[in-house]
Amino acid sequence: MSIIFRYAHVPRADGTLRKAPFIPVHVTNKFGRSMEVIALLDSGADYTVVPKDLAELLGLKESKKENDTGGIGGKVKVRNSRLRFRLKGNRENYPLDVPALILQDKNEDVPLLLGRHGFFEHFHITFKQDKEKIVLKKIQPKKVY
């Protein structure tokens, strides 16, 4: 079975709409409550990136050592962590635990970004840009006889 999400229409500062592959992930916050966070599925990112204030709300533990990382936007300071979440469909519910980088600058203007490590290994993911849909199909582990 596949889980299908329609691209989200998110406004830009100029009022136009950006259609992008956001998907909801279910996490538990530091108060022990479940919540759904809308994350951008980013196939260009090696790792999942968590904004600082979201990491604080989730109570994520971070490494003591700060590292530099970056992409087209330039270098940013991050600390290593892990993010546990569930991906849910109509009849599916998959727990995941992925390596994550927590942004140290609260002014970084990004949503939760889901990168490849720890997540893309478990799903065949199809970006249907013309239909504005993302299809995620769980990869079943190979049986060993």
């Binding site: 299908i4 992008a20 759904e36 936007g73 990004v110």
Partner: protein, 62 residues
């Protein structure tokens, strides 16, 4: 096969560019640049709240 909608289609998110929003039962109940300032509304939502960041800039790559 069912297609899941990620954000409620009837909500105008253009007012919240650059902010975090808390959506409870398909309605925006709180919004702020700082997520820590809207923790109260996250706690008070009786159903599972939805949290989304409406970024100002183009998110190209990370």
């Amino acid at each position: 096969m069912a297609i899941n909608e990620v954000l409620p289609s009837k909500v105008d998110f253009s007012r919240y560019v650059g902010q975090w929003v808390v959506i409870c039962e398909n309605k925006v109940v709180a919004h702020d640049k700082n997520l820590n300032k809207i923790e109260k509304e996250i706690k008070e939502c009786k159903k599972e709240p939805v949290i989304a960041k409406i970024p100002k800039k183009e998110t190209l790559i990370f």
